[in-house]
Symmetry: none
Subunit: 220 residues, 4 copies
């Protein structure tokens, strides 16, 4: 749970797309596609080698373009990393909304949500790259959004809902639970990355979830 969240609850993207201009010029279309290709290629490299070891040349080669073309779309290497991180964040609102829409009790909603997040961390290249970039944030520049605090806030709200629903064990603070979940999830994801390339992430997260939620949840 790496990301700086916007804090306001998830805006359904479908709606916001309604507001977008229907007619886009084909050139802008192509530019957007190129931009996107660059981002994905960069994400692959950032995930594999990290930010400092990835050169602009590497990225240009990976997309089959010249360095100049890359510089046409992004002012510098930091901007590319920034966009990767932005897209890492951009996906969460929908996922959160989806989890909430299932109508489960708060604690179960959280479980479902983080299960889904874990899968993204294992499978989605942009999410993976964004996580690594956040871990290397002080090698990049001070411009990345602060990580962890958004998720902490979202989860604090959800754990507060759980408390109000009587799902929390007496003495458990929603904020502490949120902080601990965010930190521990990060730890699990990172250690899994180092030791197994995140192939065992789901198992490790399951182990963590069982212990943590036993301590958080009220006894039935």
């Amino acid at each position: 749970l790496e990301a700086q969240m916007t804090g306001k609850s998830a805006t359904p993207r479908v709606l916001s797309e309604e507001w977008a201009p229907v007619e886009v010029r084909p050139q802008q279309d192509r530019a957007a596609r190129t931009r996107s290709e660059i981002i994905v290629a960069a994400a692959r490299l950032f995930d594999y080698k990290g930010f400092p070891a990835t050169s602009i040349s590497d990225i240009a080669d990976e997309v089959g373009m010249t360095k100049g073309a890359v510089y046409f779309h992004f002012r510098n290497k930091e901007d590319i990393a920034l966009e990767v991180v932005r897209q890492h964040y951009a996906g969460w609102p929908d996922i959160i909304a989806e989890a909430k829409s299932e109508g489960l009790p708060p604690l179960e909603t959280i479980k479902v949500l983080v299960n889904r997040v874990a899968r993204e961390f294992r499978d989605n290249i942009v999410v993976k790259a964004g996580a690594r970039l956040q871990a290397e944030r002080n090698l990049i520049g001070a411009s990345l959004p602060r990580p962890y605090v958004g998720w902490t806030q979202i989860l604090t709200e959800m754990f507060t809902d759980a408390e109000e629903a009587g799902q929390l064990r007496a003495g458990v603070s929603p904020a502490a639970a949120a902080r601990t979940l965010v930190s521990a999830f990060h730890g699990v994801q990172h250690v899994s990355d180092i030791l197994t390339g995140r192939t065992d992430l789901i198992d490790r997260w399951t182990e963590l979830r069982e212990l943590l939620f036993f301590a958080i949840a009220a006894q039935p």
Copy 2:
């Protein structure tokens, strides 16, 4: 809980120092002092800027020497990082032995131990730097020892002791408990580092400890 541990119990350093020759050649003494100064200066910079952003020149400046002097003691930058990581590990056996020597029940021994480890992560510059270097290990070279597995093994043994002493809640696996503790501690330490420079590490660790050990320990 970053480190690859040797597994063998701590050698009583006091004793071995008694056996050391009293007279050491002063030149070698100076060299050892210089080496140590380089390590500490490098640790400061690695902790602050990370491995790739720290140049040999930076280190030389930090100790007030020239690059040539640094290269007399270390073949390359990687070797310096390696030595920092080595010293990060070198302290744990004594700390583990110390915790065990208090004669507490297994679970309390683990708590005391990790409390102490948390303080090291907050205060000891070499420990801090070693942790960061391990996090950046794929930017360095494949030569660093594998992190986490040593601590996981140590803690698995201690949780097994706890199980045999009847301290574990039914259904809790010692190995899973150890893995989760190692990962979650790493997460707490890392997030605390990013958000507060580890000043709130003890508080965050306390929050994690209360939840995790409630789930792990048998009800009294």
Copy 3:
């Protein structure tokens, strides 16, 4: 007579230039010009100071560019040396064809040819540099073509022609004559370089030629 020759006869450059596209892209033109300037500047320095003593900075200064520009055209210093050596070789086929086209008897053709080669060794900076680089070949890298063998082969063929024309003294082996001519010419060129900067090369070659061809040629 330093060079590894290709063996195939000279391609008439005039003709092939007729066939070349008249319109070349101006940028590539500029690049080719720059590349060529770098080669000539490097040749001057290699001839003057040798390969190890010539730094990339020296070359960049000599052409009035920056190191980065040089590295845009060549991957490393060795590649520059390689190209100088390549151009040293590239000129021989035409010169050989020219000598042969005069329709002289074989032995006289050889004399005319080597006279011309001697002038190149005295006047052509790339030829001079290439010769020196070949002399320093084990300081560079194992990638330079083997010297001397190409010329030995060419001259062996020509001396064989002479033998068939009855121009060789009885008992003189064409191969031995070729080997000796190649080695002795190299020696004359080198000693002349060391002692006079090759200003007396023609005289020294004349002395050698008179003696050697007296021994090789059949008495009239």
Copy 4:
């Protein structure tokens, strides 16, 4: 025939050693031995890698000493090269005297002499190293003695003797014969070094000798 010769005829070393002080202090003896070991080790490396690629560390390692020890005996790397070249030269007078002492006619004396010199170029590590250092002389410093001129002078004298003895073909200049022999021998030796590591030096020299002396000698 690389060397700068002193020009005065060979001084029998046995004699000059008679004049040396009989009693030397044992420490100086050790120093001389150490010096000599350094020279031989350096010669091995110079012959193998050339001057620029041979570092003081290499030499120190080769003799099993520290760099400081080497610097005690020689002021700098150039001095070591200088001494190697000096010893390359130092052996010729005896060899020349030996050849002359056989009482052969001048031309045969020259042949015997150069045959012997060729063997030295093939077998004697200091001679080989000195030759290579002379070839790399402008990479070292302007301090090496001028090569070739000494041998040219010696051989000019000997060819003049031959002329006076009626052994020279009409029209052959003793000076030109000497110059050509020196240059051509250098060429043969160098090409043999590059192509076969001087294993075929004797054969190549024999080929050269047969041709050259046929041209030089009066017909019987």
